[in-house]
Symmetry: C2
Subunit: 249 residues, 2 copies
């Protein structure tokens, strides 16, 4: 299978990492809209427009599937992207919701959703989780985690202060914590420490792999995935981050 992975920037590489670990695909075309990143502070209409433009970009390739690795785009633009696309389009939000279904039997489980301002405003996770019967939901826009991670700050005083800033009113650790932005897995160790080992972390990359494995019959493992990286500005910088994060040679 030859697939496209779309993200607003570099965050979606955490999703590619999970895909490579599970050796699912023959070829992955990654496209990051680095010239207009971030999307998480932008408007619904802008996000939809950028999502459709990404589908146009992918029309240069004959793809079997497009993965929207960005939670914000998945939350707002999936329907419009599907209408424009010539292949199936799957987003990380629906995958994250299904991951909750698969790992939380108790419908009274306390689920805390983290995301960008736009993702949280969309209520996309809440709507999907409510439909599955979960009602004990809380959501926090933790937008500062994105620039912190982009400044290579993964632990320490600033991360601790940001946790107190966002989580001071949370009395009990949730049963599950949805990392509803592809940047957040990069501080998952600190989040796990803060909320404790009993909180299950839902990671977009792992969720999408689980979702795809249920949807498609992967009979063959691909130990050597062909990877191609494209970006709307400075593809070299994206490639350099990809080489580091994905341990490529």
């Amino acid at each position: 299978m030859k697939i496209g992975v779309f993200d607003s920037g570099i965050g979606g590489l955490t999703v590619v990492k999970s895909m490579l670990e599970h050796k699912l695909f023959e070829e992955i075309i990654y496209y990051g809209d680095t010239a207009r990143v971030p999307y998480g502070t932008k408007d619904k209409n802008t996000i939809i427009r950028y999502g459709i433009e990404a589908i146009e970009f992918f029309k240069n390739f004959e793809l079997d599937l497009i993965i929207v690795a960005c939670n914000t785009v998945s939350a707002y633009a999936l329907e419009e992207m599907r209408e424009s696309a010539q292949c199936p389009v799957i987003g990380v939000v629906e995958a994250g919701i299904l991951a909750c279904k698969n790992s939380l039997e108790d419908k009274d489980s306390n689920i805390l959703i983290l995301g960008t301002k736009a993702t949280i405003k969309s209520k996309a996770y809440e709507i999907g989780l409510c439909d599955l019967g979960y009602t004990n939901l809380d959501a926090k826009a933790t937008g500062l985690f994105v620039p912190l991670v982009e400044e290579d700050i993964f632990s320490g005083e600033l991360i601790d202060a940001s946790f107190r800033h966002y989580f001071s009113d949370i009395k009990n650790s949730p049963n599950a914590l949805i990392l509803g932005c592809t940047h957040f897995p990069l501080i998952e160790d600190e989040l796990q420490k803060y909320f404790g080992q009993d909180t299950k972390l839902i990671h977009s990359g792992e969720a999408i792999v689980e979702h795809l494995q249920k949807q498609f019959n992967f009979t063959k493992k691909h130990p050597k995935t062909i990877l191609k990286f494209f970006a709307s500005e400075n593809p070299e910088a994206l490639k350099s981050v990809a080489h580091n994060w994905l341990n490529l040679k």
Copy 2:
């Protein structure tokens, strides 16, 4: 005079505020590229392209002058914007450099430049200050101040932690601190407290007013400036911030 003010987003409103306080202009057309903000993490070529596109936007109006209120654009794209424009184009970086000249007689003055990653990388302030004979210069990319301010965080634990993160290696307070990003005046009280009252803060808005007053012969005050706001996404949100920051009715 009818002028255009360009910024990557809302930050340039701090420059408009200074202009209104000094009642310099008959009409101000503000354009914020909110659909692609922030520029401070982006590349030279992208910033130049966006700058030229802003000049194209302003061609819809008959302007006497264009002010580039964004330090990052001023640092990279001024020359290219001037080539495309039909009126003079003035940037906040050159104004900030001249403000140093006017307020720091001693060429051994210790000047600390703060800015976005892109502005600091350009060395635009250092080059200009060196040309004027200042050699005791230090520069810090303090990019996190932008999302902190955009999250309405102007003081407290996170601001303090970010100061320690960026400034822990600075032993002596500088004689002057250049607020080389239009977001930074919003935390100027905290910066002044951190560095002490002896540090002179150079503010892009005040610097550009001082620069314009030297360049142009303003014989008439305009107590009622006509203000028009445009944005590449959600102009209503920009107008709402403008009404708050500028105390408009």
